[in-house]
């Protein structure tokens, strides 16, 4: 065809095809990228206040392990009253201190006793020890026990339960 041989027209069509192809590609790729990258970003802010035991149930200075039970949302699934983890509570007067029961080393469950000093904690897996105030003692743990915020509501101890990455010297929250 005579028209197609004109280099001007051919170049213009070439540009148009490039633009059109890019538009078609973007129409699919852009929403696709948004879709796939969205969940990978994570929602962040995993903290939530969970009611545990009555303040009266805690004896002065004696560590008590409590289960953290709350609703769990995994994508579309909402499961009621799931045991999300555990925390150690220690009462000192009217204040309650709480630490995650997950060892900051490699995630084993910390137990009371055999710790650094009186009323301390230890990890049964790799023998890290912690003092009664959660401070790191002997062993491989890279940091102190992960402290959690607490408050007392209607006589119950309420814990701001969060999860942190294990194996790092810094306390980095997992979303």
């Amino acid at each position: 065809m005579a028209d197609a041989k004109e280099p001007g027209r051919r170049d213009a069509l070439r540009t148009l095809i490039g633009a059109g192809g890019a538009a078609l590609g973007c129409a699919v790729v852009v929403p696709g990228l948004v879709f796939v990258v969205g969940p990978a970003r994570g929602s962040g802010g995993g903290g939530r206040w969970v009611r545990t035991v009555k303040l009266d149930a805690l004896r002065e200075g004696e560590p008590k392990r409590v289960s953290i039970v709350a609703d769990e949302r995994d994508a579309w699934t909402l499961t009621k009253d799931v045991e999300l983890g555990a925390a150690w509570l220690v009462r000192r007067g009217d204040r309650v201190f709480a630490w995650s029961a997950t060892c900051p080393h490699l995630g084993c469950a910390i137990r009371a006793g055999d710790g650094a000093g009186e009323g301390g904690f230890s990890c049964p897996c790799h023998a890290s020890t912690f003092a009664g105030d959660g401070k790191r003692g002997e062993g491989p743990s890279p940091r102190d026990m992960d402290a959690l915020a607490t408050k007392v509501e209607e006589g119950f101890v309420v814990v701001d339960f969060r999860k942190y990455r294990t194996g790092t010297p810094e306390k980095v929250e997992i979303g």
């Binding site: 069509l13 929403p31 696709g32 879709f35 796939v36 969940p39 994508a75 579309w76």
Partner: protein, 607 residues
Amino acid sequence: MTIGAKLSAWLDERTGHKKLLAAVLDEPIPGGARWAYVFGATLALLFVVEAVTGALLATAYAPSVQTAWASVHYITFTMSGGWIVRGLHHFGCDAMIVVLGMHLFQVAAYGAYKRPREVTWWVGILLLAMVLGFAVTGSLLPWDQSGYWARRVETNIAGTVPLVGAWVQGLVMGGSDYGSLTLARFYALHVAVLPASLAGLLALHVALYRKHGNTPPASLTREAARKTEPFFPSQVAKNLLATLLVVAVVFYLTVKHHGAPLDAPADPVSDYPARPEWYLLWMFRLLHVFEGSAGSVAALLVPAVVAGYLVLLPLLDKAPGTAIRPRAIVLGPLVLGAMGILGLTFGSMQSDAADAGYQASRKKADARAEIAVSLARRGVPPGGPLQMLRSDPGLHGEELFTKSCASCHTLGDLGDAKKATAPSLDGWGTTAWLLAMVHDPDGDARFGRTPYKGQMPSADVAPKDRKPDDPPFKPMSKEDMLAVASFLAAQGDAPGDPPGAGRGDEAARKAGEKIVTDRCTGCHLYKGDGDDGDQGLAPELSGYGSLAWVRAQIANPATKATYRPKAVDDGKSKGHMPRFDGDLSPADLDLVARWTRARARGVPLGE
């Protein structure tokens, strides 16, 4: 040489891509580029869109009866961009079916199925069947009402085929009923079997098309047809523009519907007004045109005849050229068939539009879908979306009331006032209702239509059958009636309720209680006691209208918690309310009691 050219030369030495690309792009088109040739390429590009969006959806979709609907809901309403991806996938499929129709007609009109292109045509027919297979399997995957019921009816029709029907049905469904295996099988077909088969056949189709080239229109002179134009750029530009146009329409539909429609979760025991997708409505219509079992036969036979005709077309056409007129007879059935399909499709749509019963069920189904979609935003329990719906007092309470209560009672727009044989529950237990009850118990909305008519005397109107030597009738004062009504209305109040109207003050309610214990316990129970030696028939008044009272009355009205056994069982009270603790589970009893009490009193359901 630029870097780009160097790189290209390096690659060409190793792959020979330049020659390949040239072969693809410089393919000569006899008679030049045409809009009529855009359909095939558009379909191929749409298939790529479907493949990409399909793979994206598969990163979040979870094919099981408990999770399918919830994950599609999550994709559509929670994940960023999810609604666009799903909308493109859904409407892209619709677009493919439309463009397939156009492609088929263009090829038929141009006579492009004629020797030596018969095999290209047959492969095309197979591709058409596969695209329909994609559409049909895909619409089951959200496991929502519309897809579920459409497929269930279709597999039942397939089951009526003589000899092999039941076996094929079982094979497709993975058993005798729709369930986990059905969904898994449709998923496997949709994402593994069909894509692999279609990709292979599409490659064959394109290779055959390239081997034989385009068929120019018969009207083109021999000389004009001899003049050719390379595929690139004119035809490529036309193809791309056509595809962009279709994708623009697909985008428009996606935005308009915010993704793709999602009906309520599939519920095997619901009364859903099943309809197939628009491209199968004509077959659905056949079921109506031919009554009874002839409908099923027609719904199977007619598509078989259509398919048979399409396959045989290249062999039936003995005309020497591709001009339309000599081929009018062999192409006649194609045109007539298309008109028939269009006619049946519109007939089906019109008949549904004019069918008030269908519209009412459709409206109900839409309302349920809307509630389900809104509930699922808070998350779906591990038991799945049906469990979510069944534990929602607002939705399931009303369903239970409709099923179990509305044949005798009326409440709001539920139940039929003309056929009611039990009190209307509108406002039941409120001060206004109780005032009306003590004044005129036999009113139509109260005992007037029940076996208790004539059993309860009015507090302020003398009984008609009074004998002359009876003690003189002393009507209760308005003030006392109000005291009784406010006291009894307060009996049903719950801590979470908003303050009810006409509850009076503490003193008035105390006065009301005194009147009740003095004057009503001759027949009624109050806190488990009456002063008639248990002779009366009338119900317990403590806690009247409370959740506990309502639940007890529904579970079993003859436990003394509400009525006494003899008020229910003796001959006079035949037709009294039956017990439901055998029909409804304890959880359902809770739900329907909560719902009925809240709706009657006009208070919120609460959590």
